[in-house]
Symmetry: C2
Subunit: 141 residues, 2 copies
DNA sequence: GAGGAATTCGAGAAATATATATAAATCAGA
DNA sequence: TCTGATTTATATATATTTCTCGAATTCCTC
């Protein structure tokens, strides 16, 4: 299951994408509307900023704005950034590959084969869904 | 990513399935061959026993044995038992459904729609792969 | 049938890591 | 000078992983 951080990140970004034009959205607006703990949200948005998903503006009229068009920000990218690899085991992760400690032969490992299929399926869905793929309604997850 | 517990569970069960006939396999044999921490493995196997996946026999010549044919024990069942729901968010879990705290309208939630697709894909793979689907080689994950 | 050896069972403890959340102090822009 | 992001620190809770110790159970041998 995803951690709270990832879910908050998704909700915050969707909110920004919807509110979004040129004017940045202040944290208080996001936290207020989506009912997210404000200070916790700050940390998450900072991570997203460092990851190049959003950009921030200080001072009056400041806040957060998508760093790219919503259509170019995928669910997969967001989850990888906040949560970590989509893969269920390190040896099938593309973004954070790591050989298993006691693996005898990766190419013949049954577990790996299954997990690789799962990863590829998951990735193809999440990487092909962007913040632009949203309906009018409000969200929560 | 799966926790260590789940990976150990999978490896242990595959080992049992392979060694397996009528005679139970002692923990020490599993821990030794698969290089798993023995006492930690005990706890995991106990969970699997309570979940009805394996059965245990005490005393000399004791150990663990699959409670059902390997073909009737799926990866999905094992992971759900040890790790928890396959779903990435509670509101799309079949085994442990829970409505999201601040959800406005589940049927129109974009996040939910995507996560549901991912869950269904993942579940169909993991639930249709059993301990019987293994090659001759030894495994590690 | 009594004793010893192998083995699971169960309760804790403990060290470590991660997740979640809050608070205070600081910095930069309008 | 005000607003809001940034940074740093702290608190709390929960999960993970591993280890220790002491049982209870069953088989085997004498």
């Amino acid at each position: 299951m995803l951690t709270q951080r990832s879910r908050y990140a998704l909700r915050a970004l969707i909110f920004i994408a919807r509110s979004g034009g040129i004017a940045p959205v202040p944290i208080s607006a996001i936290a207020g509307d989506q009912k997210l703990p404000r200070k916790f949200l700050e940390i998450i948005l900072l991570d997203l900023k460092n990851g190049g998903v959003v950009e921030s503006f200080r001072g009056k009229m400041g806040g957060y704005r998508l760093a790219r068009p919503a259509s170019q920000i995928s669910f997969g990218e967001i989850i990888r950034m906040i949560e970590g690899p989509l893969a269920l085991v390190p040896c099938v992760s593309v973004s954070a590959y790591q050989r298993c400690a006691d693996c005898f032969e990766e190419t013949t490992c049954v577990i790996r084969k299954v997990m690789l299929t799962v990863r590829d399926n998951t990735a193809s869905i999440l990487d092909n869904t962007s913040l632009a793929d949203l309906s009018i309604e409000r969200e929560a997850a």
